[in-house]
């Protein structure tokens, strides 16, 4: 069952700005920037749309590498780039509105980059017992 054709293009990180600029000039709108961590590699998808045709640029990066911001081309990209930085710890350089890790404030830094963010079960039991004692 296919609703629409979706095009994926793998590009090098160095060519990102050039490719995005091309997209911008041919009238595409930025749909989203999304990151995912698969193994040690971060995949960042830049999705564009023009008249219901959906296209994707994909770059791959690893821990510690910096990714250039596209906010000079698409002003609104700051929200996605800050989000990627806050959730995955991927450093994005040159964002027009850089929140420096304060857009999504979490107790665990870069929560989507660590192996396990789970609740601690025994602690919950203790507090539950305490509550019954208090009663």
């Amino acid at each position: 069952m296919t609703i629409e054709e979706q095009k994926y293009t793998d590009i090098m990180k160095e060519d990102l700005l050039k490719n995005v600029k091309d997209k911008c000039e041919s009238g595409y709108r930025l749909v989203q920037i999304g990151c995912g961590k698969f193994g040690d590699i971060f995949e960042i998808n830049y999705s564009f749309e023009k008249e219901y045709s959906f296209e994707n640029l994909r770059i791959k990066t690893t821990e510690g590498e910096k990714v250039p911001s596209i906010s000079d081309i698409y002003w609104g990209s700051f929200i996605y780039e800050n989000e990627i930085h806050d959730l995955f710890g991927v450093e994005v350089t040159g964002i027009n509105l850089d929140f420096k890790g304060n857009l999504i404030r979490t107790t665990v830094k870069a929560p989507f980059n660590v192996k396990n963010v789970t609740k601690v079960k025994p602690e919950k039991k203790e507090t539950a017992e305490k509550k019954t004692e208090d009663n």
Binding site: A128, K131, T132, N135
Partner: protein
């Protein structure tokens, strides 16, 4: 008369009576399909643990060796997932919401054994 654009609505509403229910006096609205809370026929339960595996909010715990089935009513989101997962069809979702309580946790345990199901509620 742009200033009095609400007039029609006001007159319509006047003839209609209140739209709200005087809740504790009148019972709340309830439909046949409303998702209320999970009920278990413990005598049919085989303690396979499928319901707790499929519970999105970890509300159900099943202890197979001692045959105890426990549900945390505060965690339960009445999603019907356990009912669908149950191979013996011993779970069902009724259409009654739980009575309001003042303090929790609100866990209910059911013990499966030869004698009739025993219900204990700890508060």
């Amino acid at each position: 008369m742009k200033l009095f654009s609400m007039t029609k609505t006001i007159f319509k509403t006047l003839g209609r009576g209140p739209s709200t229910i005087r809740y504790p006096k009148e019972p709340a609205k309830r439909y046949e399909g409303t998702r209320g809370q999970v009920e278990i026929k413990i005598e049919d339960c085989i303690f396979c643990g499928l319901c707790s595996m499929h519970c999105p909010s970890d509300a159900i715990t099943v202890d197979k060796p001692v045959k105890i089935w426990t549900i945390d009513r505060f965690r339960c989101i009445s999603c019907n997932s356990c009912v669908e997962a149950c191979p013996k069809n011993c779970l069902c979702l009724n259409n009654v919401y739980h009575e309001p309580v003042l303090n929790g946790p609100l866990t209910e345990s059911f013990t499966g054994s030869a004698e009739p199901a025993e219900v204990s509620s700890e508060n």
